[in-house]
C-alpha cells in the first residue's frame, strides 16, 4: 500500500490533492461529480464577515491556456456559510479548509473567531486577491503588513493558519518570511497573477473590472518557480497551486517543495479534475516505485 497521506501543520490529509479557493464553490456544487471525502481537503470559496456582492460583469475572460477572473469575492458571509455549507460538507466527510477574506484586519479576525468552535480543519487566509480594492491584495504585497495580519489572525485562530501569498510581488520569499515571522502554520501559493485583456473589436476591456487574476496552465511555470523559492526560504509546509491539470503537474509542485497541491481552473474544464490529478499521482508513484509520497517532496534540489 503506497502512502499518499501528508501532514499540514498537524492536520493529516489522506492525500495531497486539495481544491483551489474560488474554483470549487463551497465544494457542494461539485458533489455530483466528485466524492468530496476522497480529496485531501476541500478549500472553500472565500468567506467574509458579511455577504459581498462581488464585481460587475463580465467577470471572466478566456486567455491562451488560462483565464482572467475578477469575481470580486462574491460570498454569502460567515452566517450563512456556517449554517448551510459547513454542516453539508461535514456530512460529505470532507476535510474542510475555509478560505477567509476581509477588508480590514478586524474583518478577518471576526471570521476566524467565528470559525474557532466549528468542525473546520484548516484556515486559509486570503491576503492576495487582486480583484478587491481594500483588503485582499493590499495586505499581501507588503511584508510588514503580511506579518502584522498573520499575528492578529493567529490570536483568534483555533485551527492551523495557512497564509495565501500573492505572486504580484518582486520577491515572494519576502512575504513568505514575513508570514513565517508572524506565526503562520503553512503557506499556500500562488494566487492569480494580475492581467488584462482588451476586446479589440469592441475597443473595451474584456472585464468590467479592467484587470483580473490570471489562472490556468499558463501560470504553472511561474508557480513552480515560486514554490521552489519559498520552499528554500522558509520551514513551513507549502500548498502549491497554479495551473495544475494533471498528476504530472502536481508531481512538479511536490518536487519543487510543496507538501500538498490545489487544483483550480482545471475543474472548469473537467469537473472531475481533482480526482484525475489524484489518479495521475498514484500512477506516477506506481510507475517509479515510490512507496511514500514524502519521498517526492522537495526532491529536486
Amino acid at each position: 500500500m503506497r502512502k499518499l497521506s501528508v501532514n499540514i501543520a498537524g492536520v493529516e490529509l489522506k492525500n495531497p490533492v486539495m481544491t483551489a479557493s474560488g474554483t470549487f464553490g463551497s465544494g457542494l456544487e461539485y458533489q455530483e461529480f466528485v466524492d468530496l471525502s476522497k480529496l485531501g481537503a476541500v478549500v472553500t470559496k472565500g468567506v467574509a464577515n458579511v455577504p459581498w456582492p462581488g464585481n460587475p460583469t463580465p467577470r471572466i475572460a478566456e486567455t491562451a491556456s488560462g483565464m482572467l477572473n475578477a469575481i470580486g469575492l462574491q460570498n454569502p458571509g460567515i452566517e450563512v456559510f456556517l449554517k448551510r455549507d459547513v454542516p453539508a460538507l461535514k456530512q460529505q466527510q470532507a476535510k474542510i479548509c475555509v478560505n477567509v477574506c476581509g477588508r480590514t484586519t478586524e474583518d478577518y479576525c471576526e471570521v476566524v473567531e467565528r470559525l474557532a468552535a466549528e468542525p473546520v480543519d484548516l484556515l486559509e487566509i486570503n491576503i492576495s486577491c487582486p480583484n478587491v480594492k481594500e483588503g485582499g491584495i493590499a495586505f499581501g504585497q507588503n511584508p510588514a503588513a503580511v506579518e502584522a495580519i498573520t499575528k492578529e489572525v493567529k490570536k483568534y485562530a483555533r485551527q492551523p493558519v495557512i497564509m495565501k501569498l500573492s505572486p504580484n510581488v518582486t520577491d515572494i520569499t519576502e512575504t513568505a518570511r514575513a508570514a513565517e515571522a508572524g506565526g503562520a502554520d503553512a503557506l499556500s501559493l500562488i494566487n492569480t497573477l494580475t492581467g488584462m485583456k482588451i476586446d479589440i473589436h469592441k475597443r473595451c476591456f474584456a472585464l468590467a473590472n479592467k484587470t483580473g487574476g490570471l489562472s490556468g496552465s499558463a501560470i504553472k511555470p511561474v508557480a513552480v518557480r515560486m514554490v521552489y523559492q519559498v520552499a528554500h526560504a522558509v520551514k513551513l509546509p507549502i500548498i502549491g497551486m497554479g495551473g495544475i491539470c494533471t498528476g504530472e503537474d502536481a508531481i512538479e509542485f511536490l518536487m519543487a517543495g510543496a507538501t500538498a497541491v490545489s487544483v483550480g481552473t482545471a475543474s472548469f474544464r473537467d469537473p472531475t479534475a481533482t480526482l484525475q490529478v489524484l489518479e495521475g499521482i498514484e500512477q506516477y508513484m506506481e510507475r517509479y516505485g515510490v512507496e511514500d509520497i514524502a519521498e517526492l517532496i522537495g526532491c529536486v534540489e
Binding site: G54, I60, E62, G216, F268
Partner: protein, 258 residues
Amino acid sequence: MKITGKANIIEMTELCAGIYSMWIEAPALVEQAIAGQFVALYCEDASRMLPRPISICELDQKKGWLRLVFRVAGAGTEEFSRLTAGDKIELMGPLGNGFSLEDGEPLLIGGGIGIPPMLELAKALYQKRGKKGKAVLGYRDNTTFLAEEFAPYAEVFLASDDGSVGTKGTVLDAIWKQGLLADILYACGPTPMLRGIQAYAAKQKLPAQISLEERMACGIGACLACVCQSTQTDAHTHVKNKRICKDGPVFYAEEVEL
C-alpha cells in the same frame, strides 16, 4: 444528474454563413433535458480551458439526439464548426432551468442566435396545447436560419434590421405592426432586445420568460462568473445576484435588472 463525456456527432451542417447545426447522440442527457436548458461543450484544444455554453435547439427523445445551433464567435466555436459527422465532442448537461410551459396563448420571440432555443420550446408548447402559437423571429438581414422549421409548430412572423425580410426593424416593431397578441411571452436574444421585451411586458402586464446569457466558466453555479442583477435576494449569496447558469438562464422579466 448531469451527464458528462464524449458523444457522437450525427450530423453537421452550415445553415448560413457562420451558423452551424450539430446533431449529437446523447440519450442519457436528452432524456432529462427540456427547452431552454443548455449544454457545455469542451474544446479538444486544451489551450482553450473553458467550456462553451450552447442552448438546446431541439431534442429528439425517440432517437436520444440533441441539436445545437451555434454561431462562430471565436476560436472555440470555430473549432466546433470544423467537426463532422462521426467525430466526437466532449459535453456536459443538461444545465440550467429551462422554460416553464404555461397555459395561455404564447408568443415566442427570438433574436439572432437567440432563435435556436425557441424551436424546441415551440415544439414543446405545440405538443402540450395541440395547436400553434405565434413566433416572431428577428434577423439582421435576409440570411435567415431555422425560420421555416418553426412553421409546423407556430405561426411565424419575421423582422429584419434592414427590412429585407418581414417587418423592417426589431422584433418589437413586428409585434406592434402585425398586432400580435398573446397571454405569455417567451424570449431569447441580445440584451437590448430583452430589455425592450421586459418593458413591453411590464406595460402590457404580461408574464414574460426571458433567457439570458453571460460568459461562464464552471456552468454549475460554483464560480459565480455569470451572475445577473436580480430584483430579489438570491438563494446562494443572499445579495441580488442570480447565477445565470444555475438559477437561470430563464427568468421571469420582473426577476432581473437588465
